[in-house]
């Protein structure tokens, strides 16, 4: 009874099943791709089985489709219903982080798996809601993919699809065909698309482009992307910095004088200074550009070449950002420019002659109104809370303005025109005072702790947004800098200030920051 078994004569281990897993984000059309893959297999004399998980689990969440196939030899194979670690031949990821998830789950192995991944990103909610940049690093996924996969084919298949007027299932199917892993001719893949009957021409275009890209070999997008950066699928905002500048001869002459001043700056500072200059002149006028360079000069004059002028570079960046605060005039100005009109049309994807109605959402409060009044008057109202409240009651509500209409546009255009009086307004005074306080603070530490001085400048990043968000940013800025007396004098003071700032950018309420501040307080000498 317990005699050792002899191998079963009928067991033939040479036949193998080809397994394909598709990892997608719910709503990407993974079901269509799955049906196509099954169809192309059957078209080529294979038996195939597909499975999926439908239902709530799919609503915008990560989901897996799975296909198994083998040549039809007249018998029904036993196909598995879901992918297993180390048992996947082709892994198709319809988004880059889903490729990362596949690797994490062990579905991508160096002996077997061809990984076909679209390099575009769909940010998850957790990546989007951080006040700073909460996105995962695409580079890390790419590096892991190169290690984990037998072959890695990755390019922006979403962009190919959108450009072809199709959806990503078509370009993924093209990449699969182009990879050559399945022993089926290109024509049979195309036949499958034709047989599906909907949006055939656009699908075939996307299929063809992706096929060609995949055919060029198992390679990935060669453009290195910064950490957390993503290739954009539409409305790419890559523009050359050396952009065209136009204006009256007088203004151009003023601009050239400013540019000459920038050119005289130390080389490491120039690039940032040029961008900063452009921003502040665009915000106000040529004279404001002069003010900017005057301030920057204070930094440059005391900076050290041995440090690579890091302080001045940071100053060039954050002085520009601070001087270009977001007030009502700025918003009105930006929304009434001709370049903006064309950008909206480009983003919406309509021709220049199309009729387009554009509605802007505003919610002015008494604060914004006071900020736009002459400083004296604005302060006078703010000093009378009863009056301010009464006025706020009249002003504070959502207002929708149609910038395609003559009236709505003219209103914003007039507000934008208040620019020339901006310097006398309350908001400008407040912002300038805050800027000087901050900049003086940084300058005052320049000789004692260079790194700390740079980090003080960088803390300006915390102040952004409008109304409550702006107030919260200011409070975070204050809380981060409140640690200054506790950390000053330590060798790692700069490091601590950076850590505090990064913590402040992690969540909205600043809970991470509170924790970090407690840590700082715990090691700070009680006397300070």
């Amino acid at each position: 009874m317990n005699a050792p078994l002899v191998p079963h004569p009928k067991i033939d281990q040479t036949e193998r099943v080809t397994s394909i897993a598709v990892l997608a984000v719910g709503g990407q059309g993974g079901g269509v791709l799955t049906d196509w893959i099954t169809d192309v297999a059957e078209r080529n004399g294979y038996r195939a089985q597909s499975t999926s998980v439908a239902g709530v689990a799919q609503r915008t969440g990560a989901t897996i489709y799975y296909i198994e196939m083998c040549p039809d030899r007249g018998r029904q194979p036993v196909f598995a219903l879901s992918p297993s670690q180390g048992d996947v031949d082709i892994l198709i990821a319809a988004e880059l982080m889903e490729a990362g998830r596949a690797i994490m789950r062990g579905f991508v192995t160096p002996e077997r798996t061809t990984l076909i991944a679209s390099s575009h990103r769909i940010a998850a909610v957790s990546e989007k809601i951080a006040p700073g940049d909460g996105r995962g690093s695409s580079q890390e996924v790419r590096a892991a993919a190169l290690k984990a996969a037998k072959a890695f084919i990755s390019f922006d298949m979403e962009r190919i699809a959108v450009e072809a007027g199709s959806v990503i299932s078509a370009s993924l199917f093209g990449a699969l065909a182009g990879s050559g892993v399945l022993p089926f001719p290109r024509e049979s893949f195309e036949e499958t698309i034709r047989a599906s009957g909907r949006g055939v021409e656009a699908s075939l275009r996307a299929f063809g482009k992706a096929f060609d890209r995949a055919q060029t070999g198992p390679q990935t997008d060669d453009v290195p992307l910064g950490s957390g950066h993503q290739p954009e699928s539409e409305d790419i905002s890559l523009r050359p910095f050396a952009s065209r500048i136009s204006g009256s001869p007088k203004l151009m002459a003023g601009w050239q004088r400013l540019v000459a001043r920038v050119d005289a700056l130390p080389e490491p500072v120039r690039e940032m200074a040029r961008l900063g200059l452009r921003k502040v002149v665009d915000f106000q006028d040529v004279a404001y550009g002069g003010e900017y360079l005057d301030r920057l000069a204070q930094a440059v004059n005391r900076d050290r070449e041995s440090k690579g002028f890091a302080f001045s570079v940071a100053a060039a960046k954050y002085l520009a950002n601070t001087m270009c605060y977001d007030d009502v005039i700025r918003v009105a100005d930006l929304k009434t420019r001709s370049a903006r009109s064309s950008r909206v049309r480009r983003e919406v994807g309509v021709a220049d002659d199309a009729v387009l109605q554009v509605t802007e959402y505003f919610h002015p409060r008494i604060e914004e109104v006071c900020g736009s009044l002459p400083a004296g008057l604005g302060r006078w109202i703010e000093a009378r809370p009863g009056l301010a409240r009464w006025l706020d009651g009249r002003i504070n509500k959502g207002r929708r303005i149609r910038t395609d209409s003559a009236l709505g546009f003219s209103l914003l255009w007039l507000i934008g025109g208040l620019r020339r009086w901006r310097r006398s307004m309350l908001r400008h005074r407040v912002e300038t005072a805050h800027l000087e306080q901050w900049f003086d603070l940084a300058l005052s530490r320049l000789d004692t702790d260079y790194g700390l001085a740079v980090e003080i400048l960088n803390c300006r990043r915390l102040i952004k947004g409008y109304s409550d968000t702006h107030a919260r940013g200011l409070s975070k800025y204050d809380r981060v800098l409140s640690a200054l007396p506790m950390i000053e004098g330590r060798a790692d003071a700069a490091d601590w200030l950076r850590r505090l700032r990064e913590a402040a950018l992690k969540d909205e309420k600043g809970e991470m920051l509170e924790g970090a501040l407690k840590t700082v307080a715990s090691f700070a000498p009680a006397a300070s």
């Binding site: 191998p7 079963h8 709503g27 499975t51 998980v53 439908a54 239902g55 689990a57 609503r59 915008t60 969440g61 083998c70 194979p77 036993v78 598995a80 219903l81 879901s82 992918p83 297993s84 982080m97 990362g100 994490m104 991508v108 998850a124 909610v125 989007k128 809601i129 995962g136 890390e140 984990a148 910064g226 950066h229 699928s233 050359p240 065209r244 500048i245 204006g247 961008l275 960046k317 977001d326 929304k335 009434t336 001709s338 009109s341 909206v344 009729v355 109605q357 959402y361 505003f362 919610h363 959502g398 929708r400 395609d404 546009f409 255009w413 934008g416 947004g465 409008y466 409550d468 968000t469």
Partner: protein, 717 residues
């Protein structure tokens, strides 16, 4: 109208004897029901059997032709109660629902049905929502079969086996006068395959025939003394009849060699995974020709003692592959072996994990370890002592990088603004106890909203807040319930209860015109015309009918300001009793499915169509992402500007935007920022519109040019 239409596929239900049927598992089940001469069908939608209800719904013409009655039941209890039609009449009936949640709801009816027993075959098809892709608590339907003593089939996950199980299920039910449950797992429901069809059968007796010739038998009614006899009858008559049927009809299957020193016993649903593991161990080919004997339980309850003991008689060890816990089957087998004085070693959840899905890797590890321990000689060297380093490339750093991607609200979902408004109210009035319910609205518990503390069952949101009724407290509870849950159970268990007990809390009924989470099926308050159902029954009327005095109807949930004001009023009003807000807007997924083709057609035919979309002015956006913390919309995302002056990515709305309005409304209500704009494209504008547009744009162009002459202009390249 359901999310997915099977109008084309249902034609396959007409296939006749000998023709090949190709399609999804659920469609195959429907076809099998018709081949079996089923007389009536019902059920309640829910993954993974939602599509089964959709298929049936789309197949109504075919069902009518055959004289089959179909009902979309109000709940799983209703569906199971419907099987009462098979108690006295020899009519075959089938119902379907999601398990175990549906089985929980059904269990009152199920227990009564099981007690009296059935005359006609009664089949309950349960979609076992377990493992990856599941949306519910992880439990087993098996326990329900055991406690009510109804039989449980668990067929191998391929179309011929499922179809065969349906056929045999009816026969088993009739042979043993017992309802039969058939469980199909998530992926099995959506598996594509083929089988050879038979002709559809008209039911020998229709429900109309029964209505015209009523019968009754006091012995079948659950009331003493009959109920005491039922219990004995179950053991003395029905059980042995079932065992005989299962044995004689060879419901359970044997694979591999007849003899062997080890063997595997598995649930039918586990079979493909077991074979794949054996194949990877070099013990099977791809067709399932295996070197290890396998005993497949297509009927997992009742178990057939002598079949199992025979299987074990020549073996040193037997591994039970039983997914889920408790391990009822393994326990029963243990008891059988012990009582029979058998020597075979019983392995199960010592080699396989006690809890959790039996994935490919879990099976490979468990079965591999079992074979290595008890029959190492049948393994090749490579499998006997596997190289531990041949693991997938570990990428631990990825765990930090790859974000979780749980399901969430769809693009343009009308429920998003409800929770944005709730979050804004909480910012103003402080946090509240929030009770959630089952449905898409439960996504509120995730970021960015993070609202909701518990979920206690379908339609039980407000009921689960019923303890929080303290007049002294300064705050009220808020509870949510969807329109699906409201009609399923909520009207009585939640609303009626709140009225009766004078609960002071706030109840928000999220009305999106469908049972949306399960795929957009119509319900009583649906606004659609449905030729076979009565719709358009307002929720507010039902609520008022229950006695609620404070009722507010919101007809456009996207009005965040109004939503917030109404919630605030409900939380602060001095009026006593439950405060009910019905927040209504159509499920965007369904609305798009309905409207998009119509819109395309209208544009093509030259009609004037306004198509909205939102956008973000990237130079106005400061990248603080406050808008996303009140949205989470898939179409609202972040993008990097190629500008070294900017540290953080800005908001960006992509081409998938449906122009629902949430972005603008939230920006306005929460005083966020003015970077959002709404762009309405007018397709086929009227002549006057074109003329006025030209005029306006000339003026705007003149103003723009005037200003741009007075300043330096930095072209966008």
């Amino acid at each position: 109208m359901a999310e997915r239409s099977f109008a084309k596929e249902v034609e396959k239900l007409r296939l006749g004897e000998g023709e090949e049927f190709r399609g999804e598992g659920i469609l195959a089940i429907t076809k099998a029901l018709l081949e079996c001469g089923v007389g009536y069908v019902g059920g309640y939608q829910g993954a993974p059997i939602s599509h089964l209800m959709d298929v049936l719904s789309d197949a109504q013409d075919i069902l009518e032709e055959l004289g089959v009655h179909f009902e979309a039941s109000a709940s799983e209890a209703t569906a199971t109660a419907m099987l009462a039609a098979s108690v006295h009449y020899p009519i075959r009936g089938a119902v379907t629902f999601k398990s175990t949640v549906g089985t929980n709801v059904a269990s009152d009816a199920l227990a009564n049905l099981a007690s009296g027993g059935v005359t006609g075959g009664a089949l309950i098809i349960v979609g076992e929502d377990y493992g990856e892709g599941s949306s519910i608590m992880q439990e087993r339907s098996h326990a329900f079969a055991m406690k009510s003593q109804v039989w449980l089939l668990d067929p191998r996950p391929n179309l011929p086996s499922i179809v065969k199980a349906v056929r045999e299920g009816f026969e088993l039910s009739e042979a043993s006068n017992t309802p039969v449950m058939m469980e199909v797992r998530i992926r099995c429901c959506h598996v594509h395959g083929s089988f050879i069809a038979r002709d559809n059968q008209r039911p020998p007796m229709t429900v109309a025939d029964a209505l015209e010739n009523p019968r009754r038998d006091t012995q079948r009614i659950v009331l003493p003394p009959a109920s005491f006899l039922h219990e004995k009858e179950k053991i003395e008559r029905r059980w042995p009849a079932a065992v005989d049927f299962i044995r004689s009809r060879k419901i359970n299957e044997f694979f591999g060699p007849e003899r062997g020193k080890i063997g595997i016993v598995c649930q039918g649903g586990m079979y493909n995974g077991v074979v794949r593991a054996l194949q990877r161990l070099g013990l099977s080919d791809i067709y399932g020709e295996t070197q290890v004997p396998i005993y497949v339980l297509n009927a997992v309850y009742p178990l057939i003692d002598d079949e199992f003991l025979d299987f074990c008689s020549d073996k040193d060890a037997v591994l039970v592959v039983e997914e889920g816990q408790p391990n009822y089957i393994e326990q029963a087998f243990g008891s059988m072996l012990y009582k029979a004085g058998a020597t075979a070693r019983l392995a199960g959840k010592d080699y396989l994990p006690m809890a959790g899905e039996y994935t490919g890797q879990v099976m490979l590890d468990g079965i591999g370890a079992f074979v290595r321990d008890f029959a190492p000689d049948i393994l090749s060297d490579r499998h006997r002592a596997p190289n531990q380093n041949a693991e997938p490339v570990a990428a631990p750093e990825l765990a930090q990088t790859v974000p979780g991607r749980p399901p969430g609200f769809c693009t343009g979902c009308p429920e998003r603004p409800i929770f944005a408004a709730t979050k804004l109210v909480e910012q103003e009035l402080g946090p509240h106890h929030i009770a959630s319910d089952i449905g898409c609205h439960l996504f509120s518990i995730m970021p960015p909203f993070e609202l909701g503390a518990t979920t206690m069952g379908y339609g039980l949101g407000p009921a689960s807040a019923s303890a929080f009724n303290a007049p002294d407290a300064k705050r009220r509870s808020i509870s949510f319930v969807g329109d699906g849950g409201f009609w399923h159970n909520g009207l009585t268990s939640s609303i009626g209860n709140a009225v009766f007990n004078q609960n002071d809390g706030v109840i928000v009924i999220v009305d999106n015109y469908y049972a949306a989470a399960t795929g957009g099926q119509d319900i009583l308050s649906s606004r659609a015309d449905n030729k076979s159902k009565s719709t358009k029954h307002p929720i507010t009327e039902a609520v008022k009918g229950m006695g609620v005095k404070w009722v507010r109807q919101i007809d456009r949930t996207y009005d965040v300001g109004k939503m917030r004001a109404t919630l605030k009023e409900a939380l602060t009003t001095l009026e006593k009793g439950p405060k009910v807000i019905v927040a209504s807007s159509e499920c965007m997924l369904n609305r798009q499915r309905r409207e998009r083709p119509l819109m395309q057609k209208a544009i093509k035919s030259g009609e004037r169509v306004v198509k909205p979309r939102f956008g973000v002015d990237e130079d106005v956006c400061t990248g603080d992402h406050a808008c996303m913390r009140l949205s989470g919309c898939p179409s609202l995302s972040v993008k990097s500007l190629d500008d070294p002056l900017r540290d953080d990515p800005v908001a960006h709305i992509d081409h998938t935007c449906v122009g629902c309005g949430n972005c603008g409304e939230v920006a306005e209500a929460a005083v966020l920022c003015p970077s959002f704009y709404r762009a309405d494209t007018i397709h086929n504008p009227t002549g006057l519109e074109r003329f006025l547009d030209r005029l306006r744009r000339r003026l705007i162009g003149w103003l723009q040019a005037r200003r741009e002459r007075q300043r330096l202009n930095f072209a966008e390249a």
